[in-house]
Symmetry: C2
Subunit: 340 residues, 2 copies
Amino acid sequence: MTIKDLAAKTGYAVGTVSRALNDHPNVSEKARKAILQAARESDFQINVNAKQLKQTHSNSILVVVKGIRNELFGEMVEDIQSLIAGTRYQLVVDYMDEDLNEVARAAQLCREKKPLGILFLGGTNANFLQDFAAIDVPCVVVTNDASSLPFPNLSSVSTDDVGAARCAVETLISLGHRRIAIIGGDCVVSDTSRLRYEGCLQAFSRHKLDFDPEQDFRDVHYSYQDGYQAMRELLAAGSQFTAVFAMADVMAIGAIRALREAGKRVPEDVSVMGLDGLPLGSFLVPQLATISQSVEALASRSVAILLDAMENGAPSCHETVPFGIEKRESIRDIRKQGEK
Amino acid sequence: MTIKDLAAKTGYAVGTVSRALNDHPNVSEKARKAILQAARESDFQINVNAKQLKQTHSNSILVVVKGIRNELFGEMVEDIQSLIAGTRYQLVVDYMDEDLNEVARAAQLCREKKPLGILFLGGTNANFLQDFAAIDVPCVVVTNDASSLPFPNLSSVSTDDVGAARCAVETLISLGHRRIAIIGGDCVVSDTSRLRYEGCLQAFSRHKLDFDPEQDFRDVHYSYQDGYQAMRELLAAGSQFTAVFAMADVMAIGAIRALREAGKRVPEDVSVMGLDGLPLGSFLVPQLATISQSVEALASRSVAILLDAMENGAPSCHETVPFGIEKRESIRDIRKQGEK
DNA sequence: TTGTAGGCGTTATCAT
DNA sequence: ATGATAACGCCTACAA
């Protein structure tokens, strides 16, 4: 069943059928009705390959999600869905493995789907440097700061990672903690980890506290298991911290488990702070204190920026959205009474 | 950059270029080398739309994942990836929202990608009944039992949901619990929930225990929040259970939080058991006792069945894989000493 | 082994 | 408003 068959069935020419199917102007109401009716009756399905082969551009916005496991992205996609629902655009979401090249993938999808714009959920600057030249539609990187990338069609919206990490550590410092261990990601591989680490160092230096990475820092992957493992190593090394900041909630959860297995209570013996603001955190016992990223703000700003670029040719820009401080049960004030 | 350009550049005809690119026979080593080299140099990217438009079938296997949030599926995709990696097939993974029609989506992708077979991760029998007739390649539903569906090209591999739920409840019974609350999904909407509920009832009836759904059962969605909410309702209603079985780990986690907020300790005051075996469960405090689904078994059996159907035309079949019992910290034996 | 040409189903550009 | 027709980029007979 092709549009040719539909043409034969209705007596119209293929051109008219195509126009009717695509809501193009210059189709009589009579023709439109007859054709749509015939299409329904013979439940006609358009051949996407042929359509996309011929089309010069679609009316779709592509969302490339890098890292299926990232819960934050799941929420964000939902927010984006509803933001786009009110427009004339159609959303195409592509989920991919964290370790693949999202820019190369997007370039491929550009040729296939010819989207009007792209939203990258997560991204690695190195990949953009290498492959972004092949993409010429407006793009927004969400979650990562891309201001250092010199592309006129690339914007970014991110949480201030330096500030967020600094705030986490300063929150712990304000509660009287002086020796704070850090569990983070690989600063070489991950742009985000580098910024968050930078924020930690700023907090220590502002408060004139010593920080010995050798003793109190571990760089691992963002996972329960790695957070757990990192904490075990920290404990085994005899590090005498009273608080821990994990650069992601999942690592914080693993760390808490390791602490408990070592006989340490949270927050009585050790305070633990995460970063991300996963919904899960507030269901844990104890509830996980964390610096939360604002999924709604991230989503709404990036959609706004993308649409503005698509529709008005607005120049690229790089924004930061505010984060929240969730002082929950996993942290404790260890200052002596009356010392405040 | 098209194969025409490649032809011009190398001096060969487009037919030869196409054959070289697709590893077809009847291409001289010299031509193949020259063409592949030229393709690399001008980093030629094939036009998927044109290719698929012409193609009658690909060499790909499609994986349709229904429900991105389901952590189990994330693990399973990875397992499937590595199982397929050793074959001559290519994997195409499509993630979709839980509430969309996975069969209609698969039918659409069949027309587009022309896969040799399909793996459904999750699925709703009603959708198959309605739309599966349009699909004629071998398919395997993973996680759900499809034996009641009369399609010759549809197999299924699932955990024995009735047995798993029965086992969960019987485990609690064996520890001395007599009044056990159940938190589950909607038995009308979810095939899986219906089976698990059936398993619960079997456990009660086998042990001649009364079970009053009105008092001790809540059907909600599979989420932290809904598990939390269900437990609050159970507690508010004054139900006097000593144990809870939640039909999914995520609900169990929400339930534990609600218990703690009500001043009940787990497992001292109430035992909690989940189902799924999420990695997260073993990082919680207390570690979550659960009936675990075997992701590896599910993945390897379904791939084996699919390949057998694709390659040898093996008839459809419906298998069940064993589940595990993880007696972890969230459950407690409440029988008096020496009574055993 | 290689070249040539027709067609896949659609859209877009012309006429009409 | 509608119809005819030329691409789109590729694959695949078939011919050479």
